[in-house]
Amino acid sequence: MITAEGLTKRFGDKTAVDDVSFTVKPGTVTGFLGPNGAGKSTTMRLIVGLDRPTSGRAAVAGREYRKLRAPLTEVGVLLDAKAVHTGRSARNHLRAMAATHGIPASRVDEVIDLAGIGSVARKRAGKFSLGMGQRLGIASALLGDPHTLILDEPVNGLDPEGVRWVRQFVRHAASEGRTVLLSSHLMSEMAQTADHVIVMGRGRVLADAPLADLVRSWTRNTVRVRTPRPADLAAAVGGPDVEIVSSAPDLLDVVGLPAARIGDLAAERGIPLHELTPTTGSLEDAYLALTGDSVEYRTKELS
C-alpha cells in the first residue's frame, strides 16, 4: 500500500508535483501515466525519500520510507537503470545492496537468474546495454522480495521477451497480494498490464480510476462503415446526436449509433454495406484525450 497525501514538490518557482493525493492498493497493478515532465518520476522519488516534499507526505505500508526498518523487503524500486556504479560488476552491485539487509548471496544469484542477466553478471555494469541495465535494475528491485514494487519505465529498452516477462511478473506479483506502481509510456503495454490507472499532468492527478472506467469515460465508440453510397448512408443515419466523419471516399466513421442500428437503417433503404466494424476506444485514446491540455513538451503537428 502506497499513500500520497497532498504531496507537493517545488524546485525554485517550478512546481513539479502539486498537491497530489492517491492510494495504490495491494493486489492490483496500478499504472502511472502522464506526459514527460508531468511529475511521475518526482512523485516516485518523493515516495522513496530521495527527494523531500515541500509539503504533504508519502507513506509505504503506513510509514514514511525513511522510517522503514527493512526498506528493501518492503519496497523494490527501479527509478532509472542508471543507479549503478559503472565500474562494478552486476553481481557485486547486487551483493553490496543485499549486504545492507543481510540478504544472502543465494538470493543475489536467484534474482540474477530471474532477471536473465546470468551471462553478464560478472561484467562491469558500465558495459551493459540499455536492456541489460534495465534488467539489472529490475534484479535490484527484486532483491528483498518486496511487498511493494515501484517501477519507473521498467520495459524501457527491453526486448519483446523482456517486455512480456515484466508484464507477467508484475501481474503475478499483484496476484500474490503485492502492491505494484508502474509507469510507462507504452499505452498498449499498460492496457495489458494495469488494473487501475493514475494519470498525471503538469504535476497534478488528472484521473485515478480503474482502467476500464477510464477508457469508457474518455473515449467514444466509433463504427466504421464502408459503402459505395456514402452520401445516402450519411443521410440515413444522420441525426442530432450522430457525428459522421468521412476519412476516405467510401468510408464513414459514425459516432453515436450502435453498429446494429446502422446496419438496420442501411438495410431499410437498400444501401449495400461492405464493412461494418464497431471500434472501442483504447487506453491511448483515453490518455490523449485526458492529457491533451497538459502536455508540457508538445510535438508539433506535422502538416
Binding site: 493486489g27 530521495l50 527493512a70 562494478r88 557485486n92 545492507t100 539487509h101 543481510g102 535490484s140 511487498h147
Partner: protein
C-alpha cells in the same frame, strides 16, 4: 461503493531477519569499496610511492642524528593526496554514476550512510597504511643496515608510534576527502577542494613567512592545517609547531567538522 469487495490477499510477514542494521551498512560499504578496481589501483600506487620514496630517502640522507623512521613516514607528503582522493571519489563516484540513488534507497538513513562510508574508508586507509609503512620500515632497515644504523623497535616513539600515527593521518585525509565528496558531489570539485586543503593551502601559507609581522598569524594558523597537524603528531618534538595533544585534537576537529557539514548537506539536499 455499494458492491462488497473481496479483500485482497495479503502476504503474511515473516521476520526473516532481513533488515537494515549499521553493521550491515558497514559490510555493504566495504563490498562497494573492495569491488572497485580504482581502490586497489590507488592503494597500490600509494604502496609503491611510500616504499620507493622511503628507500630513496634512506639512501640519500646520511646525516648524523637522522632517524631512519623519518625516511619511512616522510612519503606521506605525497601519498596524503592519494588518501584524500580515494575518500573523495568513493562518494563522488556514486553521484556521477547514479549509484547514490541505489545506496540511499537501500539505506534511507542518511547519517548511517555517511557514518558507514566514513568508518570503512578510515579503517581501510588506516590498516592498509600500517601494512605499507611496515613494509617500508623493513625496506629502510635493509638500506640503513649497511651503515650500521637501524630502526629501534624497542623504542615505540622511534618506530611503532610514527607508523601508527602516520596511518591514522592517512585515515584523516581520506575522511576529509569523503566530507568534500558529500558536500560538493562532483568528482572534480571534491578532488580540487581536498588537494587544496591538504596541499595548496600549506604552500600558500608558507609564502606569508616571508611577509612582515602583520602576517605572522597566517603562518601560526597554518599549523592547524591537516597535514601540518599530522606532522606535529607523527614526529612530536620541542620544535614541532603544535604540541602532540593539540595536534591530535586538531586532526579530530577536521574529521568531526567535515563530517558534520557533510551530514548537514546530505540530509537536507535531494539526492
Amino acid at each position: 461503493m455499494t458492491t462488497a469487495q473481496a479483500p485482497a490477499p495479503t502476504r503474511t510477514s515473516v521476520d526473516t531477519g532481513r533488515r537494515l542494521t549499521f553493521f550491515r551498512a558497514l559490510r555493504s560499504e566495504w563490498i562497494k569499496l573492495a569491488t572497485l578496481r580504482s581502490t586497489w589501483w590507488s592503494i597500490g600506487i600509494a604502496a609503491a610511492l611510500t616504499i620507493g620514496i622511503a628507500v630513496l630517502i634512506a639512501q640519500a640522507i646520511e646525516a648524523p642524528g637522522f632517524d631512519p623512521i623519518q625516511a619511512v613516514v616522510m612519503p606521506i607528503q605525497f601519498t596524503m593526496l592519494l588518501a584524500g582522493i580515494i575518500g573523495a571519489i568513493s562518494v563522488t563516484g556514486e553521484y556521477s554514476t547514479g549509484m547514490i540513488r541505489s545506496t540511499l534507497t537501500a539505506n534511507p538513513v542518511r547519517g548511517s550512510v555517511l557514518a558507514a562510508k566514513s568508518v570503512v574508508l578510515a579503517l581501510f586507509l588506516f590498516l592498509s597504511s600500517v601494512v605499507i609503512f611496515t613494509v617500508a620500515a623493513v625496506a629502510v632497515s635493509l638500506v640503513v643496515a649497511s651503515r650500521d644504523q637501524s630502526i629501534d623497535w624497542s623504542d615505540p616513539s622511534a618506530s611503532l608510534l610514527p607508523i601508527l600515527v602516520s596511518s591514522l593521518s592517512m585515515a584523516v585525509f581520506a575522511l576529509i576527502g569523503v566530507s568534500f565528496g558529500f558536500i560538493l558531489r562532483s568528482g572534480a570539485g571534491a578532488i580540487a577542494a581536498t588537494v587544496g586543503v591538504l596541499f595548496v593551502l600549506p604552500i600558500v601559507a608558507s609564502f606569508f613567512s616571508m611577509a612582515g609581522e602583520a602576517w605572522a598569524w597566517v603562518v601560526d594558523a597554518s599549523a592547524y592545517l591537516p597535514v601540518a597537524a599530522a606532522q606535529s603528531a607523527i614526529m612530536p618534538s620541542e620544535t614541532a609547531a603544535l604540541d602532540a595533544p593539540v595536534a591530535f585534537l586538531t586532526l579530530g576537529c577536521w574529521v568531526v567538522g567535515g563530517a558534520l557539514v557533510a551530514w548537514g548537506v546530505l540530509r537536507s539536499r535531494d539526492a
